[in-house]
Amino acid sequence: MLVIETLTKRYATGDLAIDKVSLSIPSGQVVGLIGPSGAGKSSLIRCVNRLVEPSEGRVRLGNTDLTALSRSGLSQARRRMGMIFQEYALVDRLTVMENVLSGRLGYVGFWRSFLRRFPQADIDRAFAVLDRVGLTEHVDKRADALSGGQRQRVGIARAVVQEPDLLLVDEPTASLDPKTSRQIMRLIVEVCAERQLAAIVNIHDVALAQMFVQRIVGLRRGKVVFDGAPDRLTPAVLTEIYGEEDWAATIRKADEADGADADVPASELALAL
């Protein structure tokens, strides 16, 4: 579904954020992207939907070459990519329903959207998605009246209501407590499985990534240094990605039970990165 070919991004300051990265993600696969700050994770995700323009390389979504699209072509292509943000990026003063409907803006003309006269099919979609994420009672509440976890669920709903082929998820749990983080990750992964969506999830909490994703890509200084199943993340690999640390405490062992307490020190260690 998503093919990234020798993508490079060099910022005006001279920083080489992404260095000839190539990646291929089939439909239905959730990929966790890990790496230290500045490794290029955020830049990589934003280069896919061209919120940041790549310097070199190509990105293909299905049969469409995203990097070659014009402005209007890009708007259309963006409808196929749902994005979820670290700080939720909701329009605070609008209601939950309006925030979810804003995911359909690419499908609806300016005046209809301005007057909030969306087609009934879109309203049905919005209700369905809100039911799925469990926010039906909050439909007409202002976005800033919700808790962090609820806001992120609105963010997820907005991305999913686009009926995309791909989810681009930028640190969805960075602002959430450990329990809510797991709920959100679980929701994202389940939704991707239900709708056969490909997804790239930028995540700094390695243990959380291992718990939920099917494939992990490790980035260091703009280059891919690891690409494989979560259980192949050994301390040696983590050292290569992040540097020297007591990784034995961080990694989740495959046969460890799903006990809440065992995760807390690991999450906090990962947060320190």
């Binding site: 995911g103 690419g106 300016f110």
Partner: protein
Amino acid sequence: MPVQSTADGTKIWRRRTSRAEWLHFLGWASLVLIVAVAWRVMTQDTIWAFVSDAPRQAGDIASRMLPPRWSYLGALWKPLWDTLNMATLGTLLAIVMAVPIALLPARHTPPGGAPLRPPALLVIVPPRPLNAVILALVLVASLGPGGLARGFSGAPPPVGFLPKHPPEPIEGRRPEPVEAIRATGASPPQVLAWGVWPQITPAFAGICVFRWDINIREATVLGLVGAGGIGLNLESSMNVLAWPQVTLILIVILVTVVISEWISARIRHAII
């Protein structure tokens, strides 16, 4: 906050270095000098006899101004209505003109962009330095007293004023929701309408209401230069030295201003 050593080696602390102390003193001294000079120049023609006479004058006028001529109230309703309309319609006109202008000069706004900025600023800058009253004077002298001059006097200062403020909320807005709306595939006008506009609405509405309140105040005196409204009554009453009428008019103006300020405060409170 310098620490220094005196001649015999002990450490002392002073708030400023000697040099800074001197400069500070000179600064204050020159300010005082400027004010004193300005005072001399300003009052060189002042007839101090008048000034000392003022309390007696005040007593004299007060006795002639009170009690207010309540019967005059009936003649004031139409002019008050005119004043209200001047202020309100002028503000509405200004809002309509200001919104598109306000959205342009912001650095972040994609549509329009750089080439449109200088002309937009040109429309904003000139009216602002001029007071509503001066503009009214000019408009009345050129267009003649009457409805159109009245309507316009209310507008230009607000037009000049409003655009100065919206660019600040627009520039101060958060970029994350805007980025998110772009990511859904929305067109640039949709990004403005859904990402930017909801963020600036409270500030913009607050400024509009605030400006309406100010315009009511200004409108009450525009009549003094012939632009209509209750100021005309004030002017004519003063010309014939009908002081009890003047008092009544002043009371009416005061009540109007207090009410409009109350309304403006309530609305702004409700918006936030």
